[in-house]
Subunit: 282 residues, 2 copies
Amino acid sequence: MSVEDAPIGVFDSGVGGLTVAREIMRQMPDENIVYFGDTARVPYGNKSKTTILRFSRQIVSFLRTKQVKAIVIACNTASAHALDIIEKEQDIPVIGVIRAGARTAAAATENGRIGIIATRGTIDSGVYEEVLRHIDPGFQIFGKACPLFVPLVEEGLTHDFITEEIARRYVKDLQYKGIDTMILGCTHYPLLRSLLKKVMGDDVTLVNPAYETAVELLELLEQKGMRRKRQPGGPPAEYRFYVSDLAAQFQEFAGSILPYDVAETQQIDIESYGQETERGEK
Amino acid sequence: MSVEDAPIGVFDSGVGGLTVAREIMRQMPDENIVYFGDTARVPYGNKSKTTILRFSRQIVSFLRTKQVKAIVIACNTASAHALDIIEKEQDIPVIGVIRAGARTAAAATENGRIGIIATRGTIDSGVYEEVLRHIDPGFQIFGKACPLFVPLVEEGLTHDFITEEIARRYVKDLQYKGIDTMILGCTHYPLLRSLLKKVMGDDVTLVNPAYETAVELLELLEQKGMRRKRQPGGPPAEYRFYVSDLAAQFQEFAGSILPYDVAETQQIDIESYGQETERGEK
């Protein structure tokens, strides 16, 4: 297999990263994709850096067995805790969703006051703040953890008054701080976009890192001469989906996000990959 | 160490099982306890039987290294999916929270119409129904999955009108069916007891399996001559807490449930225990 034909590896704690995979499919319809969703250990949001790094390394080990040419960490929590380290450990490009989201927010803001809504893990990591301050030390940055959004989305309450009430409580402080730009720092949150638009009003720009991540990936592959160009009459792009738990929920939810059949989703034993930790107590 | 002095192993997907540990501490204050919370892979509620069984076997392997004399599966989902199998595989007593809860509900109901609220995994397993029908085939049993209750409890919204509104939606069908007894089939739910009491009214008996599980354990240990009797002047009961992820949340939440200091909680690499599965795709 030529490097151009090699797939792009995309992973997330579960189904949320499919919003990123969808953007890659839209912007680069010829690219092959291998998606992994860690449905046995989802969610990552409330777990520690050590744990998320161990999970991410196992997943990268698995994706490497699929000869991926690049890896997209389509999970904000994993990008926050593991991207820097994984990037150094791997000899293929690895990108996360955070820098792309931060760059777009930096370009969008007029008053320099940027809000971030995300999981507890992403907020506590301070990573968005760090990346944004690197772009402009003058930015005022305000983060808010929203742990109920993922379960509410997964219960299908994306347009419910309960979700709206919870959203109003979560963003109250950010509104009080006068932000003009808000990063949707969790891959599930774009599914709350219209509700958040209503709550935040027209004066606040909502940034969806999934879109920008696909743009960054496209540029990177172009630059390295790694884009797949489908030959006339050649095979179309191939999408393969793997999960660590084959509960029905993945397929249901995936079906609502992607215009593809994901019935062929395969389960793998993710814990058997990249085991280099010692047994026992730490 | 004599068998009486050996600890009781208690495990759960996370912190919820501490409500069961607390009952054991109250009813058997002399017993030593080793608690394991699988905080790296919490929650179990939406995951498949295969995955829950694998996780449970790893945890049992770990607890056996602590020379436990008995194991309590203090998690409804794990009891539903793994108790029968683990019980056969082990040569020490293993009990779960489900039979005790079912027996109490069976004794409490007058009209034979019993409701169960629990995670998706517990409801879909049909295990409460099976155990209740074994007691009395005439029972009418109605289950309802309540996936938002655990995150709402973990956000501290145990007395919030939002939780009440969600509870009203969840239990509407059960009320319509005329149940007179409702099992709180998830270890987090006793923390919603007063709110659920308000929503269900005085005519519905709420059953908390944690209490009954401790009663069952006490009887079992008596019967097998395995009770620890503290000697006058001898060491008090010792409690040890292990987790798979050392996020701050465990200690915060544990502090709100237990009148003990759990600052000495240790993290272990649970995935390295009981690995007998093969690497690769299934």
